[in-house]
């Protein structure tokens, strides 16, 4: 056997091993999701008697009908969409403007300010939680959307990412646009911002997912049931070891809860892959 053939064979074995590993990991990831869907299609009493009944008929949509009729899950989903969407939009706007400023404008104290912003990356949320709680309490921001959105808008990672991205865009483009008689705002809006779309997508996806899955701050700030985000709301229904609501009902809520983020994944799949692989390469 030639060295090349041996190398190809070795590579093929490696590929197969990798494939097997990917399949195994996929099963580990997908199994709980299928389990949730299965449970949501079963009657609560039947599940109480035998959890393994999920593997055989009869199946029912009763839990979904009950969820639509009685659960607060839609309010929580709405809250999560408003908070995550608002936070994402705000972060993109602020990070882009700040990034442009740090990358392109000369102003006194710029470099010091940038270091201070970066320092924000090193401060854990828990360290400022009490102070933040007091301030928000004073401002009567708890149980409001601004209370849930505002803390996330200080996004040092976003500012850093956008600054680096703007820096990587050749300055000749600004200069060409200046010679084309474009104002600074028009240069930002028409020339530079469209070029940062990949970074915007990366930042937007990470911000949205982070906000969607955030549990800690909403647990403190949202104490009224109609201001719960999805994570807090879902947790609140499990207080009685799922006995009061029924596991099938809870799982139907979970399916509803997961739907919006699934849609985000479907629409932004390409960007998510790029964002994650880009992050891995870096």
């Amino acid at each position: 056997m030639s060295a090349t053939a041996a190398s190809i064979k070795g590579r093929a074995f490696g590929d197969h091993l990798l494939l097997a590993l990917v399949i195994l990991l996929s099963i580990v990831m997908i199994a709980p999701v299928l389990w949730v869907i299965g449970l949501s299609l079963k009657d609560n009493t039947e599940l109480m008697a035998d959890p393994n009944s999920v593997f055989h008929a009869p199946y029912t949509l009763k839990n979904y009908i009950n969820t639509v009729g009685t659960s607060s899950v839609f309010i929580w989903v709405r809250n999560s969409i408003i908070v995550s969407g608002g936070l994402t939009l705000g972060t993109l706007i602020l990070s882009s403007l700040a990034g442009y400023g740090f990358a392109r404008l000369n102003f006194p104290g710029r470099d010091v300010l940038f270091v201070i912003v970066l320092f924000g990356l090193a401060v854990p949320e828990q360290a400022v939680l009490v102070a933040r709680h007091q301030i928000f309490s004073m401002l009567k921001f708890h149980n409001t959307y601004q209370g849930l959105i505002l803390p996330g808008l200080s996004a040092p990672f976003g500012v850093f990412l956008m600054t680096q991205y703007f820096k990587a865009i050749p300055k000749e483009l600004d200069e060409a646009a200046m010679l084309d008689n474009a104002s600074r705002l028009r240069i930002f809006w028409k020339v530079l911002l469209p070029l940062t779309l990949p970074a915007q997508a990366t930042l937007g996806i990470f911000t949205f997912l982070g906000a969607w899955n955030d549990y800690f701050w909403p647990l403190i700030s949202a104490t009224k049931k109609d201001m719960f985000t999805l994570t807090v709301g879902m947790a609140s229904t499990q207080t009685n070891f799922a006995q009061s609501e029924g596991i099938g009902f809870l799982m139907a809520q979970a399916v509803f809860a997961g739907a919006p983020i699934l849609i985000v994944y479907l629409f932004f799949q390409k960007y998510i892959v790029t964002a994650v692989s880009g992050a891995a390469v870096r």
Partner: protein, 363 residues
């Protein structure tokens, strides 16, 4: 539209470093002027100051007798072609060309007409709906020129626009630029460190060195009567031969004597010259190859460069200095041969220690 450009006593500093030092220059309307010099001489900075991309620390810049150095770049009526082309990557060629016109409120129909005219002139109507990423280097270059043309500027500025092209395309584009200048009859300022580009394109060349202008002149003036030793060495390929020499100034014309006793009778008047150390300079085409024992000096052939129409012969003199001479394309000289070198005294130059040049009287 075209413009006289006047640069008066302009200086520029970056921090503690002076980049341009009290520099003055008049550029006539419809002139193709080339700023030529090595990297770091300040030529691009001067161009960017005319464009408004760098502030003027002191001095004035005027276009058609109106000061423009306080105006933003977009208000100066100037178009610039960048070395990197600086096309907007997310816009089509058409949008790239339209952007500047839309910003000053030119009506859509006029924009369309100008784009079509420029595209026709540059033979690129088929590229209008493509994005820069779908174009070759040469095509991008055309688009960058097209983007400048549609603005109908008072002057075109080119910042080393050919340096990213391969050799063949560079030559072709050079010719096209010359044709474009003839057609548009606009003032054009072109920055390059390539003396071939400068010689072939310029009406006048501004040779810059070390923050200052060393010489302004037509290509042949620069080539035949360089003002300084730097200009003499920078313009022309191969570079001018330089040999340290002492002068005999007893006759009407000075005689240069080399360290190994070789002497060359120049056509440079002795009365112009003073005592001191000099460098004798002569171009390779003014050094004929003759049989050993003849001519002004003798040497051994180090290297041959066959260029087709002529052969460059690098010969080492007795004192170790190298002289490049020129022979016929089919020269029979071989490496290691002992040859004679005949210097054309009428074409020789002398440079003093400060680099100032003297030439033979003009015919």
């Amino acid at each position: 539209m075209t413009a006289d450009i006047e640069i008066r006593n302009v200086s520029k500093q970056f921090g503690a470093m002076t980049v341009l030092d009290h520099l003055s220059l008049s550029i006539r309307a419809r002139e193709f002027i080339v700023f030529l010099g090595p990297s770091g001489c300040g030529k691009s900075t001067l161009l960017r100051m005319i464009a408004g991309l760098e502030a003027v620390d002191s001095g004035e810049i005027a276009i058609n007798n109106e000061r423009i150095d306080h105006l933003p770049p977009g208000k100066r009526g100037i178009a610039m072609v960048f070395q990197s082309y600086a096309l907007y990557p997310h816009m089509t060629v058409r949008d790239n060309m339209a952007f500047g016109l839309a910003n000053i409120g030119v009506p859509g129909k006029v924009i369309e007409a100008r784009i079509n005219e420029a595209a026709r002139m540059l033979e690129m109507p088929h590229l209008l709906d493509r994005k820069p990423g779908q174009l070759s280097g040469g095509q991008r270059q055309r688009v960058a020129i097209g983007r400048a043309i549609v603005k109908e500027p008072k002057a075109f500025l080119f910042d080393e626009p050919l340096s990213n092209l391969d050799a063949a395309l560079r030559t072709r584009t050079r010719i096209e630029l010359a044709q474009l200048h003839q057609r548009l009859q606009s003032t054009m300022i072109f920055v390059t460190h390539d003396q071939v580009e400068a010689m072939t394109l310029a009406d006048r060349i501004v040779v810059m060195n070390n923050r200052k202008i060393d010489q302004i002149g037509t290509p042949m003036e620069i080539y035949e009567r360089p003002a300084t030793k730097f200009v003499a060495g920078f313009v022309g390929a191969p570079a001018m031969n330089f040999v340290d020499a002492t002068l005999d100034r007893y006759g009407k014309n000075a005689t240069a004597r080399f360290a190994d006793g070789v002497s060359v009778q120049t056509e440079i008047a002795s009365s112009q010259l003073t005592d001191g150390k000099y460098t004798f300079g002569i171009r390779s085409e003014d050094v004929r190859i003759v049989a050993a024992g003849q001519g002004n000096a003798g040497g051994v052939v180090d290297v041959l460069e066959r260029l087709g129409e002529r052969t460059l012969i690098y010969a080492r003199l007795g004192d170790g200095q190298q002289i490049v001479g020129s022979d016929a394309g089919n020269s029979r000289v071989a490496v290691g041969d002992r040859i004679g070198l005949a210097f054309d005294g009428q074409k020789s130059h002398l440079f003093n220690e400060t680099g100032r040049a003297w030439h033979a009287r003009e015919a």
